[in-house]
Symmetry: C2
Subunit: 150 residues, 2 copies
């Protein structure tokens, strides 16, 4: 079969290069991959790292609170947090005052990871090859877009 090229102007809008969604999707995945070597050294996955960023800042947090901050639901978080519990990084227990809630706290091993993780952001920043101003501007734009989409 001969190669067919379909470049009719009415289809311009469907070209991959004209989409915003694809670079977003691809950059997100490639950036996660850029974290991989550092996270692997800590035996962490990227979503687990995000949960730690929250807990290192404030703990304990309920599954609901983590879900609201990371925009993830219990279908994702419950098994993820169980794996983090198995590694003795976090505790999971029902809130005695509201048995519906599960409270996630840091265990010593999870708290100890922070010291090793705090080198990661600067090493990623190097890989990005962006100025601090560009970094902040892009982050602001994306946060605006995020609030538009949520």
């Amino acid at each position: 079969m001969a190669t067919s090229l379909n470049s009719a102007p009415e289809n311009e809008v469907l070209k991959l290069d004209n989409q915003l969604c694809f670079p977003l999707y691809a950059v997100s995945r490639m950036l996660t991959k850029a974290y991989q070597p550092y996270l692997l050294a800590l035996d962490l996955t990227y979503p687990q790292y995000l949960v730690f960023l929250l807990l290192w800042e404030q703990e304990p947090l309920t599954v609901k609170e983590i879900g609201e901050k990371l925009l993830l639901d219990s279908g994702t978080l419950t098994p993820l947090l169980k794996r983090m519990e198995q590694k003795q990084w976090v505790s999971r227990q029902r809130d005695p005052h509201d048995e519906r809630s599960v409270v996630i706290g840091l265990l010593p091993a999870g708290r100890a990871l922070q010291a090793q993780a705090c080198q990661i952001p600067e090493q990623i920043l190097t890989k990005l090859n962006m100025s601090a101003a560009e970094f902040t501007a892009l982050r602001t734009q994306l946060n605006q877009l995020l609030s538009q989409l949520t």
Copy 2:
């Protein structure tokens, strides 16, 4: 246990709000969700939609070519393309001139989806609430970042 707040300046770099990776990750997922109602109407997933964007522009393509353009490997593409084949959207056959390659072509049902899909980009654009200039600028920035990360 009392809530612990850890805001020591040496940990600022680990705060979720200071990361670029999180808004990228979250916007990517929320944007995919914004596509959901339109894709659901065509019985498509988002990665399948991306494959179609490529094939509508040019076909046939090998699995390798699709993987290079979307930055996906055969572990993702093989089962995805098999599902698309099952729905009679695409054909999958070994290249007779190089039996290592699998050539993906459009079938009539897959070609027909283009007409229904071409309304999607403008509807997404509305949801984004961005000017054309902002849209293009952000896309350019992300494409730059993508080439930096690949």
